[in-house]
Point group: D2
Chain length 139, copies 4
Amino acid sequence: MQHLIERMAKAHPAPESEFGSELGDAYRVTLECSQVCSACADACLAEHAVDPLIHCIRLDLDCADICGATARVLSRQTAPDLGIITMMLEVCARTAQACAEECERHPEHAHCQICAIACNATVDACRKLLDAGRPELHH
Amino acid sequence: MQHLIERMAKAHPAPESEFGSELGDAYRVTLECSQVCSACADACLAEHAVDPLIHCIRLDLDCADICGATARVLSRQTAPDLGIITMMLEVCARTAQACAEECERHPEHAHCQICAIACNATVDACRKLLDAGRPELHH
Amino acid sequence: MQHLIERMAKAHPAPESEFGSELGDAYRVTLECSQVCSACADACLAEHAVDPLIHCIRLDLDCADICGATARVLSRQTAPDLGIITMMLEVCARTAQACAEECERHPEHAHCQICAIACNATVDACRKLLDAGRPELHH
Amino acid sequence: MQHLIERMAKAHPAPESEFGSELGDAYRVTLECSQVCSACADACLAEHAVDPLIHCIRLDLDCADICGATARVLSRQTAPDLGIITMMLEVCARTAQACAEECERHPEHAHCQICAIACNATVDACRKLLDAGRPELHH
């Protein structure tokens, strides 16, 4: 089951992919990050002391929404608009970085540690895709 | 029912809103745009000649996802990160503008005309919020 | 701007709508409910005492996701599967009812009162669409 | 990266999980299915003959939305409402089954074959979770 989404990318009838293999990485990673952030917000809510985690919950929820939208945009290969993709990768990296930094302030919670790993992986995957892209991927 | 979301914004316990009344406009408009774009993609699929609408469907789906994520981010007033909000408003305006331009190429379809109205309203609402924002809303 | 989504429903090229005007109501109402629930979860997080609101936040987030998915399914008129639509309307009504009941336990918070109104409107709209439906809308 | 979401489930502070290990399977599988369906809709749009795929695209988009909402609901372990979870698993299984059957009608497209695999895995995972559940998971 694990590589289904990569197999899907290769099964696309478009004449040639706009991106290299970094694309497959980026959407798998942003998708997992979306789910992990959603789960971290929920785990924060179940902690005895929720107050110090309010900022973390807010960023978790924003990061879940933005990573989810980024993953959906990346999953489409038909008639892509590289300007839009670039801006989404940038806001996704920016949000994941803020979320990672906030989660790293709560090392006593295992869920925040795991969420920071997922967010940092998203930052890397977005940046790699931005760097690997054809020149016009940079606006 | 129609102003429930504005009433919600005013019912928030945060000491003072980060934004003026443009915020209420922006999230209502981006939310409606998300739904209208999703409906336009579906209406395009039901046309006799789908081929000339492939690019339109792609943009409709991206715009639906990005407007939806923007609306959710805007709906949160707790501990906002203005850098993230600014970047989301910018990519949302950019995507809605591309979608409006594409829809305007298909004036023979009433659904594309309506979708262009919703997208142009989103461009205006995002830009107004960016312009009205406090200095730090601009990154 | 306010009736754009109804105009969109009428602009659809499908030969005849599967539903009466209840459809337009249901998707506008579920869409607004999705956003109001998302905003209520956020307002709950900003309260001084978050603990008594944990259950409310959980239901708000579930209701936001389920209403959002229901709205998207309802927005599509091409090749509908009435069994799926029926089940979505039922789980949407069930979730909105649970969320309304929980919000009504917190009348001291204006945001919970408003959220209960949005959720009860969703229950009504889903049930009206289920009742108004053609026989095969009931599975 | 691959087991981050399972690690997250175990890191949750709730005293004991409501579900066995089937939960981790179900939300990973529904999440991947959501993305694969979204990608299949896009690949269908890029085919030379889109007309025979209209029904498939519709089901792909519904399945993407419903699996996505199911995954988010499953990702939350705080204060779960088992009636809602049961109904979501049922509509998710029903939708994924319809989508798998439609995709299996297009074996000439590799993306439809892959999508059918993802959808059938979702049907299995939802049913396993429904069967494994404590009695009250059945409403």
